[in-house]
């Protein structure tokens, strides 16, 4: 494999984690809930997946188990923030602490072992023969297609081409108006926050079953937070969210190539790139394109609980 193919192949693989988690976060934020628990959900998904494939040899079962655990934690978070209207920032941070702590506690007996079963690469006939992109995109594990093609397109269609999507965006922009129009605000919020949390945990499963693939303490390493930042960068849209995940996969891949080729930079500095890159990406656009602000704006009611009686 030549350099460019290798670079993009790793970029697609590495970026999948961020892309999937960012897609989940898009769902939650579009209905007006900031879910800062993504980091903890990913940790829980990651350890659930490892524990599942240690018991049974089916990676897909591990992925589904992670989705289920994510939905469970997400439902608890959503119940607190949507129905009880507790502070979203505090609940999110709490979810991150709980998920990270719990996953590390459970993970001690799985630490360092490679995953028993992983998502294998599948070569798609014909398409995988294309130059560069063929090897890079079309000979990946099955989740990569889900994350970069099926899910973003499906979510884009759902959000922007259906009546239901219009309703759920209304819930995020102006819950009072949505409520007056007969849209069940809290039910929609609950459902999409839960679904988004499931995807975040799924991203954790992808991490330990397709990308790394093993569990070690701190394996999530801030990817949940990067995903939250990517959603801002992507302007709360699914297709750009998946693409910005890819962009970060590229930065990660660059670090790997650097290490493999023995660039005279310590690996620790290469590992800093995604974090520094994220910070740059959420600061620079705001400074550079003032006009973009309206298009990229967050849902108007983001972070605000909805009280029907206090208006």
């Amino acid at each position: 494999m030549d350099l460019l193919t290798g670079l993009f192949s790793t970029a697609f693989l590495a970026g999948g984690v961020l892309a999937l988690a960012a897609l989940g976060e898009v769902l939650a934020e579009r209905v007006g809930v900031v879910n800062l628990g993504a980091e903890g959900l990913m940790a829980m998904g990651a350890i659930t997946a490892i524990a599942t494939v240690t018991a049974t040899p089916y990676p897909m079962l591990g992925f589904i188990a992670a989705l289920a655990v994510g939905a469970l934690f997400g439902a608890v978070f959503a119940a607190a923030t949507v129905w009880l209207r507790a502070n979203q920032v505090l609940c999110g941070l709490a979810l991150t602490l709980m998920g990270t702590g719990l996953a590390s506690t459970i993970g001690r007996s799985y630490s360092g072992m490679p995953a028993r079963a992983v998502f294998e690469r599948i070569e798609i006939p014909l398409l995988s023969q294309l130059p560069i992109l063929g090897k890079a995109l079309f000979s990946q594990n099955i989740l990569v297609y889900l994350i970069y093609i099926i899910l973003p397109l499906a979510l884009h269609y759902l959000l922007f081409k259906t009546r239901h999507g219009l309703n759920l965006r209304a819930v995020g922009e102006n819950p009072a108006a949505a409520d007056a129009a007969g849209i069940p605000v809290n039910a929609i919020r609950f459902a999409y926050v839960t679904a988004g949390s499931a995807l975040a945990a799924g991203a954790g499963a992808y991490l330990t079953l397709a990308f790394v693939p093993s569990w070690s303490d701190g394996v999530v390493a801030g990817r949940g937070w990067i995903a939250v930042a990517l959603v801002i960068f992507a302007g709360y849209r699914p297709i750009p969210a998946a693409l910005s995940g890819l962009l970060f996969g590229l930065i990660t891949a660059l670090g790997f190539v650097g290490q493999a080729r023995g660039w005279p930079v310590a690996p620790a500095f290469l590992s800093m790139l995604p974090y520094l890159g994220t910070i740059a990406l959420i600061i620079v656009p705001v400074l550079a394109w003032q006009r973009m602000r309206r298009i990229m704006a967050a849902p108007a009611a983001l972070g605000e609980p909805y009280f029907r009686d206090v208006r």
């Binding site: 702590g101 506690t105 801030g222 520094l276 206090v310």
Partner: protein
């Protein structure tokens, strides 16, 4: 609901009820953790008794507790100070690392008597914390970029940096350890047993912040800018300047915490030196409802919980279990805070 009674939401929670909600949250979280322990085959009551006897049964136990209290007090204060103006400094962890890093740099490479080196380390630690929060601060003040994510992401950068120097260029080439720097010679003197002067200094800092915020014009302007930025701006208060000052002060306090940890407690820079103190500091500030005086008490409580986790390590519990329990307390506190807004009123039918 019973006829004639209805729930009414008040615009702000009654402080007494909010405090009670915190107590209930801590109790419930510990109860849940005990139930989990019971199910997994441990005996929570025995473990609890063991923790209490190990902590309060000897002066060593209390000294250990105080050594944990110092960093928690400082990082909690850092978060609480930021909250005065509505800024979420989730990066106390990173600023702690940066403070420890710069203090160690002075301690290792600048020769001189302790009386000169210690103040220099203090200044370096404070500066390290300030530098670490500088970019998030400017981004928040001038571009409106949410400081929550930017401060947090820098935690990972700081951790990587400290890991790199303590296992690489600065590592101890003489001792057995490959993952820490040599011992920093300048040490903060002890004032009681193993407990160094960082404790009274930290308490003084908390009281100082509380006084300035409550009784000075600056403090009033800061609190007003925090609770209602647009009203403050309309009243001619330089909100942006206050945001910058307060956030930098917040980073400074966390940096000093890192310096204290190096010069007072650990004496070597190593990966993981921050021990989650930055994240636990969020918890400390939330439990104190962002009161600088309250931070002293909630830090003591967190120190107790963290210490319990450390004592129970021999029983198979880990600090990550403590982190999970802390998260649970935070979660229940957040719910309790909202519920504290409600009161039941009687209505005439």
């Amino acid at each position: 609901m019973v006829a004639g009674l209805r729930l009414q939401r008040l615009p702000s929670a009654h402080p007494g009820i909010a405090l009670a909600a915190r107590g209930a949250a801590i109790f419930l979280a510990l109860l849940l953790a005990s139930i989990v322990l019971e199910i997994t085959g441990a005996a929570p009551l025995e473990l609890g008794a063991q923790v209490i006897s190990a902590t309060f049964g000897s002066t060593y136990g209390i000294e250990d507790l105080c050594l944990l209290l110092i960093p928690l007090l400082m990082t909690g204060l850092a978060v609480a100070v930021g909250q005065q103006i509505g800024a979420w400094n989730i990066g106390a962890e990173g600023q702690f690392y940066a403070g420890a890093f710069s203090a160690t740099a002075i301690g290792l490479f600048v020769p001189g008597p302790t009386i000169v080196i210690l103040p220099l380390m203090f200044i370096a630690g404070a500066a390290g914390g300030v530098i670490w929060i500088l970019v998030p601060t400017l981004a928040r003040a001038y571009a409106g970029v949410n400081e929550l994510i930017t401060t947090l992401l820098l935690n990972f950068v700081a951790a990587l940096m400290v890991y790199y120097v303590s296992t690489g260029p600065w590592r101890d080439r003489v001792g057995m350890s490959n993952s820490a720097t040599p011992r920093v010679k300048a040490e903060i003197p002890e004032f009681w047993g193993l407990v160094h002067w960082g404790l009274p200094l930290g308490v003084l800092m908390a009281i100082g912040f509380a006084l300035v915020l409550s009784y000075s014009k600056w403090g009033y302007e800061v609190r007003l800018s925090g609770s209602n930025p647009s009203a403050a701006k309309y009243a001619g208060i330089p909100v942006r300047r206050h945001i910058i000052t307060v956030m930098l002060l917040s980073g400074m306090v966390a940096g000093i915490a890192g310096m204290f940890e190096i010069a007072g407690t650990v004496h070597r820079l190593q990966g993981g030196i921050s021990n989650n103190f930055g994240y636990l500091g969020i918890m400390v500030a939330v439990l104190a409802r962002n009161s600088c005086i309250g931070v002293i008490f909630s830090a003591a409580l967190m120190a107790l919980i963290l210490n319990a986790g450390i004592i129970l390590q021999t029983q198979g519990l880990t600090t990550s279990a403590v982190l999970a329990i802390t998260g649970l307390i935070l979660f229940l506190t957040a719910i309790g805070d909202e519920l504290a807004h409600y009161r039941i009123t009687r209505i005439k039918i």
